[in-house]
Subunit: 140 residues, 3 copies
């Protein structure tokens, strides 16, 4: 069994943003030399996500509106107990649970085994500082 | 390390529906010959899910009502920017994020290593056309 | 390829509660002897979660309030069809979908390859009875 690990770093200027990281993950899979296996791709920070969906700006605008409705930003410690710690990002911990921490993708014949519209995104919910994504390939 | 890949195709007549696909996944695990390993089972389309829960029709009715409340269907491009593209399924992209894209299940002694009520479901949120699910087994 | 499987049992006295199970998972990874690979950690019950987030009591209080708002407990069969079966836990099946069933974590140099604040939690949404979590390590 082969394994191969890389870390990607992102620093997004907005509080909430989505970035297509499929090209970086494809390159890591290529470098791993794995033809048949799995790739795990996860946010290493708890106010960020890695998820798979469509690369369509309208949809991303809809996601932002929807997540803000499900878990509104509110810096006050009255609304969120977490914000009594000096943080203001309790909402980001919730948004991340809706969108998920990680994806596991099949590698078949050396490529990400994807449907027609699947793309991997880094989802940021408390941006403006560097955060890491782990990519781990295992297989043969 | 062994690996084994199959694709299942589903064409559900309703916009939103859940289908128990555990028997198909069990059969693929059996065919793989893997005794100890993991099986990845994911929707290859971004308005569908694979998830694990209970095979109880009342619960499935509750899920539909609940998802419709969290992310209501609305074809208008005023409500969802994604629907300006000519699509009407922005809500389906949200429902899919709540229910998830994939499951990873342990294989122990040649079987899905499940608790008493765990069953694997294909979740459709924008049906009436064929869509695929990927099942990939790795192990020994 | 090595593989190693263990089952943890938890019996939490509250209906909804979160328990940090990182030390138990670390110990299983150590016992597995796997240096490079993946560990799957999943709830074996469908009203419970395994998820990764911050070990901060204020955040956990916020999660409980938020999940109760997204999917309120209501024992009546009028509100949830699932509760016509004699169960009262339809809400728990929904909360579990928001928080997720499982996590897959990279093992690098014999350790959980985690960001600074990542911790693994067992999430209980219908407690007061024993439930199991599966931990499966694969790798080399």
């Amino acid at each position: 069994m082969k394994s191969f690990t890389e870390y990607l770093t992102f620093n997004l200027p907005a509080r909430m943003a989505f970035l297509n990281i499929t090209p970086q993950v494809e390159e890591i899979v290529r470098k791993s030399g794995v033809a048949e296996g799995l790739v795990l791709c996860n946010a290493m920070h708890i106010t960020a996500s890695v998820f798979i969906n469509d690369d369509e700006p309208g949809l991303h605008a809809d996601y932002k509106k929807w997540l803000e409705k499900l878990a509104p930003f509110d810096a006050s410690p009255q609304t969120y107990a977490h914000n009594r710690t000096g943080e203001d990002n309790a909402d980001a911990h919730m948004k991340r649970q809706v969108m998920g921490r990680e994806v596991v993708v099949a590698i078949t014949k050396g490529k990400l085994d994807f449907g027609p519209w699947e793309q991997i995104f880094y989802g940021e919910f408390d941006g403006r500082r560097p955060k890491r994504v782990l990519v781990k390939v295992i297989g043969e």
